[in-house]
Amino acid sequence: MSKYDDNYQLLIDAINFKNKRPLTSFSGPAVGAILSGMTIAELVADPVKGTYKTIDFIHEIDDECGGINLVNSIPTGLNMVVQISMLWYSKVLIPGIDIGENTVWQVQEKKLIDSDQYDEIIKEGFGNFAKKNIIPNIIDIDYMNKYLKIFAESQETIFNKYKDMGYPITQDFRCPTTMIPFEWLSGMRSMSELLLDCYTQLDKVKEVCDAIFEEKYAETEAGLEKVKTNRDVVGAWTGGWRTASAMVSPKIWDTLVWPYMKKSAEQVIHAGKISVLHLDQNWNRDIERFGELEEGKYILNTDGMTDLRAARKKLPKTCFMGDVPATLLTAGTPEQVYDYVTRLIDDIGPEGLIVTAGCDIPESATRENIVAMFKAANEWS
């Protein structure tokens, strides 16, 4: 069996709680290129070069740490500014153009729409509305198109390269998913304005969320159809940041978060793919609810703020991917990182565990800390 096939099998085992050792996954769209000497501005300007630098970086780390099994959020030739603008529907300042060479992209979350425009979204459809009212206000269309073209031309070769190196990609952009509308609306309305709407006109917010979700769900369905039979498209992610349990009240979570998150995950699972639930911030209050999803078909990817020890008790057979905090990878010592990972495995066991950074490895992380994170998993006994 090839390294890729071995790792693929290990992934399936981990999701089904049959692995004996913890797995390791590299997740970080920028850090590999930055630690290889590129500036953030260069990485944004030439995302394909940044991707190949990252691939080389992962390869080197793989040798040093005793093996990396998977990759999760990795560069695939898509410009980060384009990616983040589309992910959050907010304007993103461009390193090297709007801001310094080595300043991380800045998301300018500000009010782009008023609450009386909810009806417009419902009437016109979200895609049309965004094309007219949002996208031109957050990104230069020529800039976006230029990089989408580069992405389209390079992505297949890049995906194949990851495969040749032996890494299944758990969060694969070729596999579409349906986002939680609350996250998009937060970007467009700003979080405090959206919350105000939630407290004063929850039914309207729900109505607009339903409309957005339905439209996107249908688009995702068509996209999933195309990748259904491609075994190498392993999984897709559904992400939550501002929708974390600690961020919103139970009423908002039950109405505007979980119903969509669940349907989004089920849609991916139904297409035969793995649902990777990317959970930033603290999800302790509601973690049990993920048990409503089909066992062995999903991964919870937490960032260090959700208590995995408590979660393991409530979800004894769920695959966890996490959760070394960004701060530790930046400001900690390799010994502290090694210790963190060792204790995590000691406490929740190696079964159903994929060791990786919380969210992503930040670009400010040190190389030694990244190696220590994976080494600890590989040397655990």
């Binding site: 407290y199 004063t200 009240s249 209050r285 930040p362």
Partner: protein, 206 residues
């Protein structure tokens, strides 16, 4: 407990402003209304600490508090409100997270501080200018990104260079900030939540 305190503590978006208008019209002292609101904010803080309330509730209490303050303002004479002290607040350079900073700002206001909020992505010099202009004795910095520790350091250094360091206490907070970052940056103290921010600022002006 007064109606105002209860309505704020229970985040009654419609009832609270109505009640404030009603009581003002009936001739109630606006300072008393403000005090009752502050009491309500303390209860909100407690509910958050007990996990009865979540971040969204803290944000909403801030929105409500602001609304009431705007209603009271025309009725308050200059000098009516006695502030405990002044705080310059902001999220450090290159960091745009403001949810936590805003909560800290609201809690500080609710506990009687005058807050000069400089927003997000604030360059060190702007903090220094605001300290000079306002004569504030506390600088509160929020930082959520590990890549922005150097912005905290640069801000502390700018305060040093301006000659104000021994007159100003610098407190820091935000997700990844801890004792190590206090040592690294030369700030005075850190806090993990908005209540800490209030306690630290109160300590700083004593």
């Amino acid at each position: 407990m007064s109606n105002i305190t209860t309505y704020l503590a229970e985040l009654k978006m419609e009832e609270l402003p109505q009640e404030v208008e009603k009581e003002l019209a009936a001739g109630k002292d606006p300072k008393e209304i403000l005090a009752e609101c502050q009491e309500g904010m303390v209860i909100v803080g407690e509910k958050f600490a007990n996990e009865e309330y979540y971040v969204s509730d803290l944000i909403m209490s801030g929105v409500l508090f602001k609304e009431v303050a705007a209603l009271l303002e025309p009725h308050l004479k200059q000098g009516d409100v006695e502030y405990k002290g002044k705080v310059v607040l902001g999220t450090v350079e290159n960091d745009v997270h403001d949810i936590g900073k805003d909560i800290v700002g609201n809690m500080l206001k609710a506990s009687g501080f005058e807050v000069v909020d400089l927003g997000v992505d604030v360059p060190p010099q702007k903090f220094v200018d605001a300290l000079k202009e306002s004569d504030a004795k506390v600088l509160a910095l929020s930082c959520l990104l590990a890549s922005c520790y150097d912005s905290i350091l640069a801000t502390v250094n700018a305060v040093k260079d301006s000659g104000l360091r021994d007159q100003v206490k610098i407190v820091i907070g935000g997700g990844p900030v801890d004792e190590t970052i206090v040592d690294y940056s030369g700030a005075d103290a850190y806090g993990v939540n908005a209540q800490d921010a209030v306690d630290l600022c109160e300590g700083a002006i004593k």
